[in-house]
């Protein structure tokens, strides 16, 4: 029952999160399925993804684009992996396709079965209750070119997630405002950082900020002395700003 939420950046810059994904499987040769948000350019990201994960330990991989036709056999082979990784991209397009193909239910089922579900940027937003954070702020949001109205997502994490966070007043204002309109806390993380949720506990890798009911909490960087996160540990410091 593990979730890994990446904010963004190159796969190679997310080594701690990559390791968290693989450690959570408790397997020496885990099988990892990469689901790109779009087959357009997806394969190039997959190449970088493979290289970064193989840096950690040997794995076997599956590549499963969902916006081109695929067979039932491909679907069952891909979803049988130990880690299912949802890539970055356009969140609305990605959610529309997942829903259209009935994959929302299957991903929830895979998570309940104990598989690791991970996502980067758009993929991370999809793990939360809804994809509202993809639609703001106006200066940095995805274009809803598929005209999606129902923003409900996988709902595997009990909070919302804002990737590519940058420490600036306009981001802070936008997120504080948004947090007043939702009952869920919003976790915002800069590129190279992320969250690991495992069996009800969570850990920040890198840095993150929590916005809730108009307030902001900053979560300091994880201990530099322990770069290899341990499953189930909570190595964060909270401070009110």
């Amino acid at each position: 029952m593990s979730l890994v939420l990446y904010s963004g950046g190159h796969f190679a810059d997310n080594a701690a999160l990559n390791r968290a994904c693989l450690d959570a499987t408790r397997k020496s040769l885990p099988r990892v399925t990469y689901i790109p948000s779009s087959s357009d350019y997806g394969i190039e990201d997959f190449r970088d993804f493979v290289a970064a994960f193989e840096e950690i330990r040997p794995c076997t991989f599956a590549y499963f684009p969902i916006d081109t036709p695929f067979t039932g056999e491909m679907r069952s082979r891909a979803l049988a992996s130990d880690v299912i990784f949802l890539s970055g991209g356009n969140t609305f397009y990605f959610l529309r396709n997942l829903r259209k193909l009935g994959l929302i239910r299957e991903l929830r089922h895979a998570h309940a079965e104990g598989k690791v579900i991970a996502g980067l940027s758009a993929g991370a937003i999809l793990l939360t209750p809804n994809i509202g954070t993809a639609s703001f702020p106006s200066f940095d949001c995805d274009e809803n070119f598929v005209g999606l109205r129902n923003f409900a997502a996988l709902g595997l994490a009990p909070f919302e997630f804002f990737p590519h966070y940058s420490q600036s007043e306009r981001y802070r204002r936008a997120l504080a405002g948004a947090s007043r309109r939702t009952k869920n806390p919003i976790y915002a993380a800069p590129d190279g950082s992320g969250l690991v949720v495992s069996n009800g506990e969570f850990r920040v890798v890198g840095a993150a900020h929590v916005f809730h009911k108009g307030h902001m909490l900053s979560i300091a960087k994880a201990s530099r002395r322990a770069p290899r996160p341990t499953e189930g540990s909570v190595d964060i410091e909270l401070s009110l700003t």
Partner: protein, 612 residues
């Protein structure tokens, strides 16, 4: 403004740009062929055609040619626009103009004459090339940069006396007269955009071709398409002198061609003979075997025929995109209806290429011996056997490439495991070539039959499945992947024979990967991973087709996107890049790639993916 520029040190590069732009005016009609083969050149005075706007400029090609600096931004400025229009917005003063004593302002007439060239064309009543050649094109000249020389020609510059219409009706035509086909001398803007995109996609994917340097558009929907290639001579240029038995003229043009190829660094014969003519025959044989194999594997329809038109001698490269198409599937029986004749179909292109090599052998023999023998005597010339061997080699090599195997693995398998490759190829073609029970039927521009299977989809999906789980897939899954949208249920029945073929196909496919990995388990997974990546791009689901490119160009024109210069100039390279197969492409631009127009174009490509 001028004062400010001269004061600032930053004016240096700007000044260089200006000089480069000005140098375009050196492409002024003069061409060495006018001295080397004057009889081949029909010279015309040309005048400025007013009203042009630059619709497209190929910045990548211009950089390669040294027409702009390497650091030049992909933006058209007023100065560059003026230079392009100045150099290329031309129309010939043709025989009709002279007969009707139509006069033009003296200052609109350019100082040098421009040539249309004579060559064989099967659509002409005279089959010896006395009346045929460039019907609506002129050669603008040559351009040299870094030891390479390009020919530059323009299509849509007026009706010449070499168009089929003149020969058929025995009279000259006014430029722009649309009452006869093949006779108006102008080019359609939509066709020009299609040619610019398709030729650049081909080029970037390794298919030898002429390229579009610029497209100038006019308000009446016509255009001038400026093309460039390192040597724009066609076999038809040389074959004309063979037909006319003019050995001296033939020698001049062949010697000219050899000199150009050597200068451009394209002279790499594989035979030991030091006779340049025999070396040329060897190179021609190799290039045409390669091109014919490529056309068959990539489903490129190029209408090869005995005349040696529609293709270049150098590299067997494609030119004149009027009839060129890329099919989505192996639509074996498609033929274009050219009113008085049918075109070739995809599998016949090989025999046409073979016949061109045979004619070339006859031509080289004529050149060397002075005795013109019947072409049939060369049917068993050793070069024909070489052609067959090379054709078979390249066809296998391109199949391995389309599987996603690296160059190293392709060569390794061809050298060490040729019989395994042949077995796989036989199985591949068993599926690839099956046509629907519907048979041959009429379409808008000809006849066709429908391929039942899309084997490029199999090459893309199979490694993904094996990567996810290292076991063979079910027969029904194979059919589900491979079936084309044209296939009906009766085309897809799982007979015992077909079932056996499906199992054998997978077995041979996996065997090739094991052989490439030399039976090492780790290597097998590694190779599978690599070919998953490569084959996903090579056999992309939304691969462009002939109909796709026509619809994309029509969409751009109808929605008036093609009239918005700067938007088009950024859109076309993005669209072209999106169709490039290699992994090593320019960095993406997420912002642009989500642009609604590009998305619409991609949708059009997807909707046409299995068509001709």
């Amino acid at each position: 403004m001028i004062k400010t520029q001269t004061k600032k040190p930053a004016t240096g590069p700007r000044k260089t740009s200006s000089l480069l732009y000005e140098s375009l005016s050196r492409i002024d009609g003069r061409h060495p062929l006018q001295d080397c083969s004057p009889e081949m050149c029909l010279l015309y005075n040309v005048r400025t055609r007013p009203g042009a706007e630059v619709a497209y400029f190929n910045f990548d090609l211009a950089r390669e040619m040294g027409l702009i600096e390497a650091s030049h931004p992909n933006r058209l400025n007023a100065e560059l626009s003026r230079a392009l229009i100045g150099a290329f917005s031309l129309v010939i003063i043709n025989e009709y103009d002279l007969e009707n004593k139509i006069s033009y302002p003296k200052d609109s007439i350019r100082p040098h004459k421009y040539m249309a060239t004579r060559y064989l064309q099967l659509q002409h009543p005279n089959k010896t090339g006395k009346t045929s050649g460039d019907g609506r094109s002129i050669w603008n000249g040559t351009w040299s940069y870094k030891n390479r020389t390009w020919d530059v020609s323009s299509c849509g510059t007026g009706a010449t006396a070499l168009s089929p219409a003149v020969a058929l009706h025995n009279r000259n035509f006014k430029t722009g007269d649309t009452t006869v086909s093949y006779g108006c001398g102008l080019a359609d803007y939509s066709d020009a955009l299609g040619a610019a995109m398709l030729s650049e996609i081909f080029h970037k994917n390794g298919t030898p071709t002429e390229r579009t340097l610029a497209v100038l558009r006019f308000k009446d929907g016509t255009s001038i398409n400026v093309r460039a290639g390192e040597n724009l001579l066609r076999p038809a240029h040389m074959f004309r002198y063979l037909k006319l038995s003019e050995r001296d003229n033939l020698k001049s043009i062949v010697d000219y061609h050899i000199a150009r190829e050597k200068k451009n660094g394209r002279w790499q014969p594989e035979i030991s003979s030091s006779d340049p003519y025999l070396q040329l025959l060897d190179i021609f044989c190799r290039d045409f075997a390669r091109s014919a194999a490529l056309f068959e594997r990539e489903y490129i329809f190029c209408w090869l025929d005995w005349d040696g038109d529609n293709i270049l001698i150098s590299e067997g490269a494609i030119l004149d995109y009027g009839s060129v198409r890329q099919f989505g599937l192996f639509h074996r029986d498609y033929r274009y209806d050219d009113v008085e004749r049918w075109s070739t179909n995809i599998p016949e292109q090989k025999s046409k290429a073979r016949y061109l090599v045979q004619t070339f052998a006859q031509m080289i023999d004529f050149l060397r011996s002075g005795d013109k023998k019947n072409v049939r005597r060369f049917a068993n010339d050793p070069v024909m056997e070489l052609f067959e061997t090379r054709f078979a080699h390249f066809k296998k090599k391109f199949l391995l490439r389309n599987m996603g195997l690296s160059e190293k693995h392709q060569n390794q398998l061809l050298q060490k495991h040729a019989s395994a490759v042949t077995r796989f190829e036989t199985l591949f073609e068993y599926f690839e070539r099956q046509q629907s029970a519907k048979g041959v039927y009429k379409v808008d521009d000809g006849i066709t039959s429908d391929a039942v299977f899309c084997m490029r989809d199999v090459l893309r999906e199979l490694p993904k499945l094996f990567l996810a789980e290292d076991t063979t897939i079910k027969d029904s899954t194979f059919i589900e992947i491979a079936r084309s949208s044209y296939a009906e249920d009766k085309d897809l029945s799982l007979t015992p024979s077909r079932s056996r073929h499906i199992q054998n196909f997978q077995k041979q496919y996996r065997r090739l990967l094991h052989l490439a990995g030399e039976n090492d388990r780790r290597s097998f997974h590694r190779i599978l991973l690599e070919i998953t990546m490569r084959s996903s791009l090579i056999n992309r689901h939304d691969r462009i087709t002939g109909n796709g490119i026509i619809r994309v160009a029509d969409h751009l024109v109808k929605k008036k996107i093609a009239n918005r210069g700067s938007e088009l100039l950024s859109l076309l390279p993005e669209f072209i890049r999106y169709q490039v197969q290699g992994l090593e492409i320019s960095p993406r631009n997420h912002g642009t790639s989500t642009a609604p127009v590009l998305r619409r174009l991609i949708q059009i490509v997807q909707d046409s993916r299995e068509e001709i």
